[in-house]
């Protein structure tokens, strides 16, 4: 087997180790903003074509082709067009955009300028999760530097193109990562998802045509412009092209961001991460954050691309690989996630608002060993009454851990009931647990 390190494709993460990598100086020293100069020499439609040809799919979770999304913007619409970057990274386990903006904010800023130029927007916004103040400061400074260097503002690089970029801090609501709730929040309203149609491409921010993309999608654009769509699409798998940041967290020796072509396997990533903590066995993992159904050690060799993970009954999501070893109680983990979703449900629609309220109560009882096996079937029935019934996808994400944990670990739920409580030692699963600790 080749050295696993050779399977990595650092592009977005390539400069993260540089001295003061977040500064304009450091970014330009390694070739930054050259893609912008090249892009400004291209026709906007050609940039859209390049992104289409690269087959870049949205990195925010849903995997919608980015170039196609840009193509939906009606260019004959007299209203202004807007580019909005979704940097409201709040999903449990997901941690790719925030490190990217922390280590190399200019990669994103350059991507924003090129993308806005392509869709002919003169205003762009980066909506950042409000809790990450340190990242907001880095971004704000990067935007300031870009203005001072003439990358932003009037007449960018003497091209006649004007662009203003605003960094906007959210106020701490997971729902604002949902693109229409994000738009409401950006407009100064309470963040709740909007009715569609109209879709944001037609009537988004301020009822104007709007493209909303994930940080990583936009940050990938400069490299596509610089190296060409063929370079990008030479990586990855048949329908999931390019590279992506895989965020490993939990019970591995070296948690962190691993940038690799789509289609890499978890087995390979765990190797890269130095193996499981203390040599423990893998019990379950999320492929793309807590809203993607759990997978287990059966799925170590599933290619981590949109189709592969989908085929395994889950979703690639945000490539947030939360790794749980055998010390973890799946009921407890599921309850924690559900508490998150209950807390973050915006309240607009019934299944999410009331359904999560109820699920938490049932799970809490099960964790304490109260109830009967019939409650498991009822739990699945509750999930059935939530999944696909809610206004947006938040509730669909909320039921994922419940359904998948019962699917793979029904016996463990039953064990709670037969033993009258949780059979695990919660301390054993902590990161500070001594080696060899056992549940």
């Amino acid at each position: 087997m080749s050295d696993p390190i050779e399977t990595l494709t650092p592009v977005l993460t390539a400069n993260w180790g540089d001295e003061r990598s977040w500064t304009l100086e450091a970014y330009e020293a390694q070739g930054g903003y050259r893609a912008l100069t090249k892009a400004l020499g291209m026709a906007p439609d050609d940039i859209i074509s390049a992104v289409k040809d690269s087959q870049l799919r949205g990195r925010g979770g849903a995997g919608f082709p980015t170039g196609m999304k840009w193509g939906f913007i009606p260019q004959d619409n007299p209203k202004p067009k807007y580019l909005v970057v979704n940097a409201d990274e709040s999903e449990p386990g997901t941690c790719k955009d925030i490190p990217l903006m922390m280590a190399s904010p200019h990669t994103l800023v350059e991507g924003v300028i090129i993308s806005a130029y392509a869709i002919r927007a003169n205003h762009a916004f980066i909506y950042v999760r409000g809790e990450v103040l340190h990242v907001i400061r880095r971004l704000q400074r990067a935007v300031q530097e870009a203005y001072l260097a003439g990358h932003l503002g009037k007449d960018v690089h003497g091209s006649g193109y004007d662009l203003d970029l605003v960094v906007h801090a959210g106020a701490g609501a997971y729902i604002c990562g949902e693109e229409t709730a994000l738009l409401d929040s950006l407009e100064g309203r309470r963040g709740q998802p909007r009715l569609r149609p109209p879709f944001p491409a037609v009537a988004g921010l301020y009822a104007s045509p709007t493209v909303i993309n994930n940080v990583e999608s936009i940050a990938s654009v400069p490299s596509i412009v610089a190296n060409g769509p063929e370079w990008f699409s030479s990586m990855g798998t048949e329908r999931s092209k390019g590279f992506g940041i895989f965020s490993l967290s939990g019970h591995v020796e070296r948690p962190g961001q691993y940038e690799a072509p789509l289609g890499i396997t978890l087995r390979r990533l765990i190797e890269l991460a130095g193996g499981m903590r203390n040599g423990n066995a893998l019990k379950f993992w999320t492929p793309g954050g807590s809203s993607t159904p759990l997978l287990t050690d059966e799925h170590l060799d599933v290619p981590l691309d949109f189709e592969g993970v989908g085929g395994a009954g889950s979703m690639l999501g945000t490539r947030a690989l939360q790794i749980f070893d055998e010390t973890v109680c799946v009921v407890r983990a599921t309850l924690r996630w559900l508490e998150f979703y209950k807390h973050e449900s915006c309240g607009k629609c019934t299944p999410c608002r009331e359904g999560t309220w109820w699920l938490v109560q049932v799970l809490a009882r099960l964790e304490k060993g109260q109830g009967t096996e019939a409650d498991l079937d009822q739990l699945l029935d509750q999930c059935d009454n939530i999944l696909g019934r809610s206004f947006c996808a938040l509730a669909d994400g909320a039921v994922s851990p419940v359904q998948s944990s019962i699917q793979y670990f029904r016996d463990e739920y039953v064990a709670h009931l037969t033993q009258g409580g949780c059979p695990f030692d919660p301390a054993a699963s902590t990161l500070f647990a001594p080696a060899g600790a056992r549940a």
């Binding site: 019934t350 999560t356 309220w357 049932v362 059935d384 009454n385 696909g388 019934r389």
Partner: protein
């Protein structure tokens, strides 16, 4: 109607083919074939929300190859669609709970979720028995609660909280459908309530410094699909299944809103908006809803009284005695006149009009218990009477079709709330522009996105004439001109309005404040007009009417209007007065009116409750409130809105029966004793088909600015706020408390001049003094012209007319501390 006919969209619902116009929502299409999909957040007059998810249906659409494709998500799993947000499309196949077991389960699932945090306190809830949640939980839910069976813990709150003085919120009952917040934002334009917090703790909230003070707040209580919103006046008063509902018409303004009167054991418990797509749709003002307790106040007159010759006190009398005493007194008074307020039904107004002509032999009759003018009477005769929505007159629906609506002397939010809501709909949904000839941008005008033609009182005529040449207003045949009764106070203004209508082609409508005003015009309660719009000065018209009435002739001389009647009584030229429904403090000069009453030799009062007229009356005759009689109100758009009696109360006689009794004693019977008989006679008499008098026209008074006012002198602008001290709003404290507070409004310059600069948190007060007295009110800055002060006409004391000065006159304003 100029609606473009469009192709219909064909679809099937539960296998039944249905064709509906494009853009129809699936939930509405299902109603067409009698399939009721359960729903909560859906409301036909509100924008779709898709929030409650109760109306889920299964949908399949034809694919490019013609085969049906079920809407799915996640792939492989049918994804139920909210039928309240889904627009029909050609070939769509919809399955509801009736034919799709999966949908039935989905709906039951949502219903179960809705009930998780609902207290299920139906036995003590006002909504119990008429509750969409209760009803639909029965029809589309489970009988047992799995949540409760497991000992689930519900979200609870302290109950209830006031979101205004009138509206209370039980948060734990709320299912967060957002109907109330959407109504307030979309329809009323008063977004003082909003959803706050999130998840199951989401709730309806108010901003602490802006309570839910909306003239239309009661509608939110009515459309609440659960018992979360209740009104202070009805909470815990009765159960819906104990109530009898009678349809009626609101008696508070000239809009003719359909209402439903819910009563129990002879007592009105509450009033609700009725449905009338042509008039009020499904909304009414809080005045129409809550102001009904006036009819059961302690001062309600219950029996006839006559003034005892020996003691000088009123003493109870029998009806026959009272009729006889009244007839004798009027006969010996030496010329009598009739004053009716603007609150009569058309039938009662007709009886007064006939009583004056036949029994008293005079044209001295006027319904205008407010500042009025001869010009106005001419205007009503030439431009208003006999116009109706049926023959080209302006209608509610015309508001939505109009390019521009000019308001003059009319503040619709205060004076015609139903009209205001329709006008706001026209603005928001159809792009109608509103222009208002008014002293300042009122909140109502701001909510209409209206443009102010800033006009000091007295300058309306000039402002209207200039509008003809205003390219921005661009008034033409597609426009409407709505004039209010206040325009009568400015000489030449109504003439200018009629001219503006003629020169631009914009259609004209007169929007009075009171429910009986327009009916009184039609029935002939004016010195210049006989019933059916017959000009009193036209001999042919008099002959026509005399023939119909079977009398030899009608009086020939000119009649006196209200002001002239008051003057003639004071001067002794008239001796007798029949007065019904007039509050002296509403008249142009309350002191003069009282003096005239004192001078009158004989006063007969027909009234619901004791008033300031009663001490002067020689005979007091109680009359029926609207609940006790059938009647008709004629709306501002000439619509006849008949209603039947709610209570059969034999001791409660309509005015027309009382007048008939007096007339019979006078030896001049009116020929009717019942509403039914009057209605038949009115139909038989019919409208005048002869020539209508042309508007003579009145020149405007010399411009007010010509003579420099004294230092500190300002011009008085005023109108009545919707919620004020009017006697028909008595008896409902929560309703009054939710009204707007009384303030005096000044321009920023005048505020600075009189009170110094506006400071945050400091409410300066002003004393406004006119020739009749002074009031002290908190001052507020508005975009008034300099030198004009605005006061609410009837919100403090006895009102502006009695306590301060006549509208448009000169007053002085000075600071009165904080």
């Amino acid at each position: 109607m100029t609606q473009v006919s469009t192709e219909l969209v064909n679809l099937t619902i539960d296998g039944v083919a249905v064709s509906v116009p494009p853009g129809t929502l699936v939930i509405r299409a299902a109603e067409q074939i009698g399939v009721q999909i359960p729903r909560f957040c859906d409301h036909p007059l509100l924008a779709p929300a898709g929030a409650c998810r109760q109306c889920l249906v299964e949908v399949a659409l034809p694919g490019p190859d013609g085969s049906m494709r079920q809407m799915q998500g996640p792939p492989g799993r049918m994804k139920p669609q909210a039928s309240c947000t889904l627009v029909v499309s050609e070939g769509m196949e919809v399955r509801t709970q009736l034919t799709s077991p999966d949908i039935d389960k989905a709906q039951q699932g949502v219903m179960e979720q809705l009930l998780i945090n609902h207290p299920l306190d139906c036995p003590v809830c006002d909504k119990g028995g008429e509750c969409p949640l209760q009803n639909q939980a029965m029809s589309n839910g489970r009988g047992e609660s799995r949540f409760s069976a497991q000992g689930g813990v519900k979200r609870t709150y302290p109950k209830p909280i006031n979101i205004s003085a009138q509206v209370l919120l039980d948060r734990e009952r709320c299912i967060l459908c957002a109907r109330c917040t959407r109504f307030s934002q979309e329809i009323a334009g008063d977004p003082f309530i909003a959803l706050i917090e999130r998840g199951a703790l989401q709730q309806v909230g108010i901003y602490e410094r802006e309570p839910f003070e909306s003239y239309f707040a009661g509608n939110t209580v009515q459309i609440c699909p659960v018992g979360a919103l209740t009104s202070a006046d009805y909470r815990f008063r009765s159960r819906p299944f104990d109530l009898v509902s009678s349809p009626s018409v609101a008696e508070h303004d000239a809009c003719g809103a359909a209402i439903r009167v819910d009563h129990r054991r002879g007592k009105v418990m509450r009033r609700l908006a009725g449905h009338d797509a042509d008039v009020n749709e499904e909304w009414i003002t809080d005045k129409d809803r809550y102001a009904f307790a006036y009819a059961r106040q302690a001062d309600r007159l219950t029996h006839p009284q006559v003034r005892d010759a020996d003691t000088g006190e009123l003493r109870p009398a029998s009806w026959p005695e009272a009729f006889a005493v009244a007839a004798r007194g009027l006969a010996g008074a030496g010329g009598s006149a009739v004053l009716t307020g603007g609150r009569l039904t058309a039938e009662d107004a007709y009886a007064y009009a006939k009583f004056a002509r036949v029994a008293l032999g005079t044209h001295d009759i006027d319904f205008r218990a407010r500042p009025h003018s001869a010009e106005e009477a001419d205007f009503l005769a030439s431009e208003v009477v006999l116009t109706s929505h049926e023959d080209g007159g302006v209608t509610y629906a015309d508001l939505e079709r109009a390019s521009v609506v000019v308001l003059a002397g009319l503040e619709p939010e205060d004076e015609a709330g139903t009209l205001f809501l329709r006008l706001r709909k026209a603005v928001k949904q159809h792009g109608t522009r509103v222009v208002s000839v008014a002293p300042y941008t009122s909140r109502g005008l701001a909510k209409l996105d209206g443009r102010l033609v800033r006009t000091a009182p007295g300058a309306e005529a000039e402002a209207l004439r200039e509008l003809a040449h205003d390219g921005e207003v661009a008034l033409d045949g597609g426009g409407l001109l709505l004039v209010g009764e206040r325009l009568a106070a400015t000489p030449g203004a109504l003439t200018a309005a009629a001219e503006l209508s003629r020169t631009t082609g914009a259609r004209l409508a007169w929007v009075p404040r009171r429910a009986g005003d327009r009916g009184a015009v039609e029935a002939g309660c004016l010195p210049t007009l006989l019933p059916g719009g017959r000009p009193a000065a036209d001999a042919a018209a008099r002959v026509d009417l005399a023939t119909a009435w079977g009398v030899e002739q009608l009086p020939t001389g000119p009649g006196r209007d209200g002001d002239a009647i008051v003057a003639a009584l004071a001067a002794g030229e008239l001796g007798g007065l029949v007065v019904g429904g007039v509050d002296p403090d509403d008249t142009a000069d309350p002191a003069a009116f009282r003096e005239a009453l004192g001078r009158a030799r004989f006063v007969v009062q027909l009234e619901l409750r004791a008033t300031d007229v009663t001490p002067y009356a020689d005979v007091v005759l109680p009359v029926a409130p609207v609940t006790d009689k059938a009647g008709t109100f004629v709306t501002w758009d000439g619509r006849t809105r008949a209603f039947e009696q709610v209570f059969a109360n034999p001791g409660s006689l309509p005015d027309l029966r009382v007048l008939a009794g007096i007339a019979e004693e006078l030896g001049a019977p009116l020929g009717f004793r019942t509403v039914e008989e009057v209605r038949r006679e009115m139909a038989a008499v019919g409208p005048w088909d002869g020539e209508r008098p042309a508007l003579a026209g009145t020149a405007p008074a010399p411009t007010a600015g010509a003579s420099e006012p004294a230092p500190g002198a300002m011009r008085l602008a005023t109108w009545k706020q919707l919620v004020d001290l009017g006697s028909m709003q008595d008896g409902e404290s929560a309703y009054r408390a939710a009204g707007r507070r009384a303030v005096a409004r000044l321009s920023a310059t005048d505020h600075e001049r009189i009170l110094g600069p506006v400071a945050d948190g400091v409410v300066a007060r002003v004393e406004v003094t006119g020739d009749r007295g002074s009031v002290v009110l908190p001052a507020e800055v508005a975009d008034l012209p300099d030198g004009v002060v605005w006061l609410p006409a009837r919100s403090v004391g006895r009102g502006v007319l009695a306590d301060v000065a006549s509208p448009g006159s000169t007053v002085t304003v000075k600071g009165a501390g904080e």
